[in-house]
Amino acid sequence: MHPTVQALPMLADVSSRYTDLVETIFSSAIAGKAWLATGAFVLAFVQVLTASRMWGKLERFVPLSFPTARRIHRWSGRIALLLTLPVFFHCVTILGFKTPDARVAMHSIAGSFLYGVVAAKLIVIRWKGYPHWVLPVIGGSLAAVFTTLWLTSSLWYFTNVRFGF
Protein backbone atom coordinates (compact mmCIF):
# COMPACT_ATOMS: atom_id res chain seq x y z
CA MET A 1 0.00 0.00 0.00
CA HIS A 2 1.25 3.48 -0.84
CA PRO A 3 2.46 5.39 2.28
CA THR A 4 0.08 8.28 1.59
CA VAL A 5 -2.85 5.91 1.46
CA GLN A 6 -1.72 4.06 4.56
CA ALA A 7 -2.10 7.34 6.41
CA LEU A 8 -5.76 7.55 5.40
CA PRO A 9 -7.63 4.77 7.22
CA MET A 10 -10.75 5.11 5.04
CA LEU A 11 -8.74 4.44 1.92
CA ALA A 12 -6.36 1.89 3.37
CA ASP A 13 -8.54 -1.14 2.64
CA VAL A 14 -9.94 -0.03 -0.71
CA SER A 15 -8.02 -2.75 -2.50
CA SER A 16 -9.32 -5.56 -0.28
CA ARG A 17 -12.89 -4.20 -0.35
CA TYR A 18 -12.78 -4.01 -4.13
CA THR A 19 -11.46 -7.58 -4.25
CA ASP A 20 -14.18 -8.79 -1.85
CA LEU A 21 -16.85 -7.10 -3.97
CA VAL A 22 -15.64 -8.60 -7.23
CA GLU A 23 -15.23 -12.02 -5.63
CA THR A 24 -18.95 -12.09 -4.80
CA ILE A 25 -19.43 -12.74 -8.53
CA PHE A 26 -16.09 -14.00 -9.89
CA SER A 27 -13.49 -16.43 -8.53
CA SER A 28 -10.89 -13.67 -8.28
CA ALA A 29 -10.44 -9.97 -9.05
CA ILE A 30 -8.28 -10.91 -12.03
CA ALA A 31 -10.99 -13.24 -13.39
CA GLY A 32 -13.55 -10.44 -13.04
CA LYS A 33 -11.26 -8.07 -14.87
CA ALA A 34 -10.70 -10.58 -17.67
CA TRP A 35 -14.45 -11.04 -18.23
CA LEU A 36 -15.35 -7.35 -18.00
CA ALA A 37 -12.58 -6.57 -20.48
CA THR A 38 -13.92 -9.32 -22.75
CA GLY A 39 -17.36 -7.71 -22.63
CA ALA A 40 -15.87 -4.34 -23.52
CA PHE A 41 -13.83 -5.94 -26.32
CA VAL A 42 -16.92 -7.59 -27.84
CA LEU A 43 -18.75 -4.25 -27.70
CA ALA A 44 -15.74 -2.57 -29.31
CA PHE A 45 -16.14 -5.04 -32.18
CA VAL A 46 -19.82 -4.05 -32.38
CA GLN A 47 -18.62 -0.44 -32.51
CA VAL A 48 -16.41 -1.18 -35.51
CA LEU A 49 -19.23 -2.98 -37.35
CA THR A 50 -21.85 -0.28 -36.72
CA ALA A 51 -19.39 2.52 -37.51
CA SER A 52 -18.54 0.78 -40.79
CA ARG A 53 -22.25 0.58 -41.59
CA MET A 54 -22.71 4.29 -40.84
CA TRP A 55 -19.84 5.09 -43.19
CA GLY A 56 -21.47 3.06 -45.97
CA LYS A 57 -19.30 -0.04 -45.61
CA LEU A 58 -20.24 -3.67 -44.87
CA GLU A 59 -23.88 -3.04 -45.80
CA ARG A 60 -24.32 -6.69 -46.82
CA PHE A 61 -22.87 -7.99 -43.54
CA VAL A 62 -24.53 -5.41 -41.27
CA PRO A 63 -28.07 -5.06 -42.66
CA LEU A 64 -29.13 -2.21 -40.37
CA SER A 65 -30.67 1.12 -41.17
CA PHE A 66 -28.50 4.15 -40.45
CA PRO A 67 -30.53 5.27 -37.39
CA THR A 68 -30.46 1.75 -35.93
CA ALA A 69 -26.72 1.42 -36.50
CA ARG A 70 -26.18 4.82 -34.89
CA ARG A 71 -28.29 3.92 -31.86
CA ILE A 72 -26.46 0.60 -31.39
CA HIS A 73 -23.13 2.35 -31.89
CA ARG A 74 -23.84 4.91 -29.20
CA TRP A 75 -25.17 2.46 -26.61
CA SER A 76 -22.49 -0.16 -27.24
CA GLY A 77 -19.91 2.58 -26.73
CA ARG A 78 -21.47 3.77 -23.49
CA ILE A 79 -21.76 0.25 -22.08
CA ALA A 80 -18.22 -0.64 -23.19
CA LEU A 81 -16.90 2.44 -21.42
CA LEU A 82 -18.82 1.52 -18.25
CA LEU A 83 -17.40 -2.02 -18.35
CA THR A 84 -13.87 -0.62 -18.51
CA LEU A 85 -14.24 1.42 -15.31
CA PRO A 86 -13.72 -1.42 -12.80
CA VAL A 87 -10.91 -2.69 -15.04
CA PHE A 88 -9.37 0.78 -15.03
CA PHE A 89 -9.64 0.95 -11.23
CA HIS A 90 -7.97 -2.43 -10.78
CA CYS A 91 -5.26 -1.96 -13.41
CA VAL A 92 -4.34 1.65 -12.70
CA THR A 93 -4.81 2.11 -8.96
CA ILE A 94 -4.08 -1.41 -7.68
CA LEU A 95 -1.66 -3.05 -10.13
CA GLY A 96 -0.06 0.06 -11.65
CA PHE A 97 2.30 0.60 -14.58
CA LYS A 98 4.75 -2.31 -14.84
CA THR A 99 7.20 -3.60 -17.44
CA PRO A 100 8.49 -6.99 -16.23
CA ASP A 101 8.06 -8.54 -19.68
CA ALA A 102 6.87 -7.63 -23.19
CA ARG A 103 3.25 -8.62 -22.58
CA VAL A 104 2.81 -6.57 -19.43
CA ALA A 105 4.77 -3.64 -20.92
CA MET A 106 2.56 -3.59 -24.04
CA HIS A 107 -0.53 -3.80 -21.86
CA SER A 108 0.61 -0.97 -19.58
CA ILE A 109 1.47 1.33 -22.50
CA ALA A 110 -1.72 0.62 -24.48
CA GLY A 111 -3.81 0.97 -21.32
CA SER A 112 -2.34 4.39 -20.61
CA PHE A 113 -3.58 5.57 -24.02
CA LEU A 114 -7.12 4.16 -23.84
CA TYR A 115 -8.93 7.04 -22.14
CA GLY A 116 -6.80 9.61 -23.98
CA VAL A 117 -8.02 8.21 -27.29
CA VAL A 118 -11.59 8.10 -25.94
CA ALA A 119 -11.33 11.78 -24.94
CA ALA A 120 -9.99 12.74 -28.37
CA LYS A 121 -12.78 10.79 -30.09
CA LEU A 122 -15.49 12.43 -27.99
CA ILE A 123 -14.15 15.88 -28.86
CA VAL A 124 -14.06 15.08 -32.58
CA ILE A 125 -17.64 13.74 -32.42
CA ARG A 126 -19.00 16.76 -30.56
CA TRP A 127 -17.15 19.46 -32.45
CA LYS A 128 -18.04 19.47 -36.13
CA GLY A 129 -15.79 20.55 -38.99
CA TYR A 130 -12.94 18.07 -38.76
CA PRO A 131 -11.51 16.53 -41.96
CA HIS A 132 -13.42 13.47 -43.16
CA TRP A 133 -10.61 11.04 -42.25
CA VAL A 134 -10.16 12.08 -38.61
CA LEU A 135 -13.04 10.16 -37.00
CA PRO A 136 -12.32 6.79 -38.70
CA VAL A 137 -8.65 7.13 -37.78
CA ILE A 138 -9.44 7.82 -34.12
CA GLY A 139 -12.13 5.13 -34.03
CA GLY A 140 -9.74 2.65 -35.62
CA SER A 141 -7.04 3.60 -33.13
CA LEU A 142 -9.46 3.02 -30.27
CA ALA A 143 -10.37 -0.42 -31.65
CA ALA A 144 -6.65 -1.21 -32.00
CA VAL A 145 -6.01 -0.18 -28.38
CA PHE A 146 -8.93 -2.31 -27.17
CA THR A 147 -7.65 -5.29 -29.18
CA THR A 148 -4.11 -4.91 -27.82
CA LEU A 149 -5.41 -4.67 -24.28
CA TRP A 150 -7.61 -7.75 -24.63
CA LEU A 151 -4.91 -9.85 -26.29
CA THR A 152 -2.35 -8.97 -23.61
CA SER A 153 -4.66 -9.54 -20.63
CA SER A 154 -7.87 -11.52 -20.98
CA LEU A 155 -6.56 -13.87 -23.66
CA TRP A 156 -3.42 -14.44 -21.58
CA TYR A 157 -5.57 -15.18 -18.52
CA PHE A 158 -7.91 -17.55 -20.38
CA THR A 159 -5.06 -19.47 -22.01
CA ASN A 160 -2.48 -19.45 -19.20
CA VAL A 161 -4.42 -19.31 -15.96
CA ARG A 162 -7.98 -20.58 -16.40
CA PHE A 163 -10.98 -20.22 -18.65
CA GLY A 164 -13.78 -19.72 -16.18
CA PHE A 165 -15.51 -17.25 -13.95
Binding site: V5, L11, S28, V92, T93, R103, S108, G111, F113, W127
Partner: protein
Protein backbone atom coordinates in the same frame (compact mmCIF):
# COMPACT_ATOMS: atom_id res chain seq x y z
CA UNK B 1 -5.56 21.33 -39.24
CA UNK B 2 -5.30 23.77 -36.35
CA UNK B 3 -8.48 22.26 -34.90
CA UNK B 4 -6.66 18.94 -34.47
CA UNK B 5 -4.64 20.54 -31.69
CA UNK B 6 -7.57 20.26 -29.26
CA UNK B 7 -8.18 16.49 -29.51
CA UNK B 8 -4.41 15.93 -29.67
CA UNK B 9 -4.04 17.94 -26.48
CA UNK B 10 -6.86 15.98 -24.84
CA UNK B 11 -5.12 12.74 -25.85
CA UNK B 12 -1.82 13.87 -24.31
CA UNK B 13 -3.30 15.30 -21.10
CA UNK B 14 -5.61 12.37 -20.33
CA UNK B 15 -2.91 9.82 -21.20
CA UNK B 16 -0.42 11.63 -18.97
CA UNK B 17 -2.95 11.71 -16.12
CA UNK B 18 -3.65 7.98 -16.41
CA UNK B 19 0.06 7.24 -16.67
CA UNK B 20 0.76 9.33 -13.56
CA UNK B 21 -1.96 7.55 -11.60
CA UNK B 22 -0.68 4.16 -12.80
CA UNK B 23 2.87 5.02 -11.70
CA UNK B 24 1.48 6.01 -8.29
CA UNK B 25 -1.02 3.09 -8.07
CA UNK B 26 -2.14 4.21 -4.63
CA UNK B 27 -4.09 1.06 -3.73
CA UNK B 28 -1.42 -1.53 -4.54
CA UNK B 29 -1.97 -4.43 -2.15
CA UNK B 30 0.28 -5.54 0.64
CA UNK B 31 -0.10 -8.61 2.78
CA UNK B 32 0.30 -7.63 6.42
CA UNK B 33 2.20 -10.19 8.46
CA UNK B 34 -0.83 -10.57 10.72
CA UNK B 35 -2.90 -12.01 7.87
CA UNK B 36 -0.42 -14.76 7.08
CA UNK B 37 -1.77 -16.95 9.87
CA UNK B 38 -5.48 -16.24 9.33
CA UNK B 39 -5.99 -19.26 7.08
CA UNK B 40 -4.69 -22.75 7.57
CA UNK B 41 -3.80 -24.19 4.18
CA UNK B 42 -4.91 -27.59 2.92
CA UNK B 43 -2.21 -28.89 0.54
CA UNK B 44 -4.54 -31.45 -1.07
CA UNK B 45 -7.15 -28.83 -1.95
CA UNK B 46 -4.27 -26.50 -2.85
CA UNK B 47 -3.12 -28.96 -5.50
CA UNK B 48 -6.42 -28.58 -7.36
CA UNK B 49 -6.37 -24.78 -7.01
CA UNK B 50 -2.78 -24.87 -8.28
CA UNK B 51 -3.82 -27.00 -11.27
CA UNK B 52 -6.62 -24.54 -12.12
CA UNK B 53 -4.88 -21.19 -11.56
CA UNK B 54 -1.10 -21.64 -11.44
CA UNK B 55 -0.10 -24.63 -13.57
CA UNK B 56 -0.48 -22.71 -16.83
CA UNK B 57 2.70 -20.75 -16.05
CA UNK B 58 4.47 -22.79 -13.35
CA UNK B 59 3.88 -26.21 -14.93
CA UNK B 60 1.45 -28.94 -13.87
CA UNK B 61 4.08 -30.45 -11.55
CA UNK B 62 5.55 -27.10 -10.52
CA UNK B 63 8.76 -27.57 -12.50
CA UNK B 64 8.26 -24.26 -14.30
CA UNK B 65 7.23 -22.97 -17.69
CA UNK B 66 6.62 -19.33 -18.50
CA UNK B 67 6.84 -18.78 -14.74
CA UNK B 68 9.67 -19.97 -12.50
CA UNK B 69 9.97 -23.51 -11.14
CA UNK B 70 8.50 -23.92 -7.66
CA UNK B 71 9.27 -27.60 -7.06
CA UNK B 72 12.40 -28.02 -4.95
CA UNK B 73 12.77 -24.23 -4.86
CA UNK B 74 12.77 -24.07 -1.07
CA UNK B 75 10.10 -21.35 -0.99
CA UNK B 76 7.94 -21.39 2.14
CA UNK B 77 4.19 -20.93 2.50
CA UNK B 78 4.35 -17.41 3.94
CA UNK B 79 6.46 -16.21 1.02
CA UNK B 80 4.00 -17.79 -1.43
CA UNK B 81 1.07 -15.96 0.18
CA UNK B 82 2.93 -12.65 -0.04
CA UNK B 83 3.88 -13.16 -3.71
CA UNK B 84 0.36 -14.28 -4.66
CA UNK B 85 -1.13 -11.31 -2.80
CA UNK B 86 1.16 -8.64 -4.18
CA UNK B 87 2.10 -10.08 -7.57
CA UNK B 88 5.60 -10.53 -8.93
CA UNK B 89 7.04 -10.14 -12.41
CA UNK B 90 4.39 -10.87 -15.02
CA UNK B 91 2.08 -12.44 -12.44
CA UNK B 92 -0.60 -9.97 -11.37
CA UNK B 93 -1.59 -9.57 -7.73
CA UNK B 94 -4.56 -11.55 -6.52
CA UNK B 95 -4.81 -14.43 -8.99
CA UNK B 96 -6.10 -16.37 -6.00
CA UNK B 97 -6.93 -15.03 -2.57
CA UNK B 98 -8.22 -15.98 0.87
CA UNK B 99 -8.50 -19.70 1.58
CA UNK B 100 -7.47 -20.55 -2.01
CA UNK B 101 -4.20 -18.65 -1.51
CA UNK B 102 -3.55 -20.41 1.78
CA UNK B 103 -4.24 -23.81 0.21
CA UNK B 104 -1.99 -23.06 -2.77
CA UNK B 105 0.72 -21.89 -0.38
CA UNK B 106 0.48 -25.15 1.56
CA UNK B 107 0.69 -27.15 -1.67
CA UNK B 108 3.63 -25.17 -3.04
CA UNK B 109 5.45 -25.40 0.29
CA UNK B 110 4.97 -29.18 0.19
CA UNK B 111 6.53 -29.54 -3.27
CA UNK B 112 9.20 -26.92 -2.66
CA UNK B 113 10.92 -28.78 0.17
Amino acid sequence: MARLVVPALALVVVTAAVLGLARWHPFSPTVPAATLNVFEGDPVRGASVFAASCAGCHGADGTGGVGPALRDSGINGAKVIVVVGTGQGAMPAGLVSGQDAADVAAHVASIAK
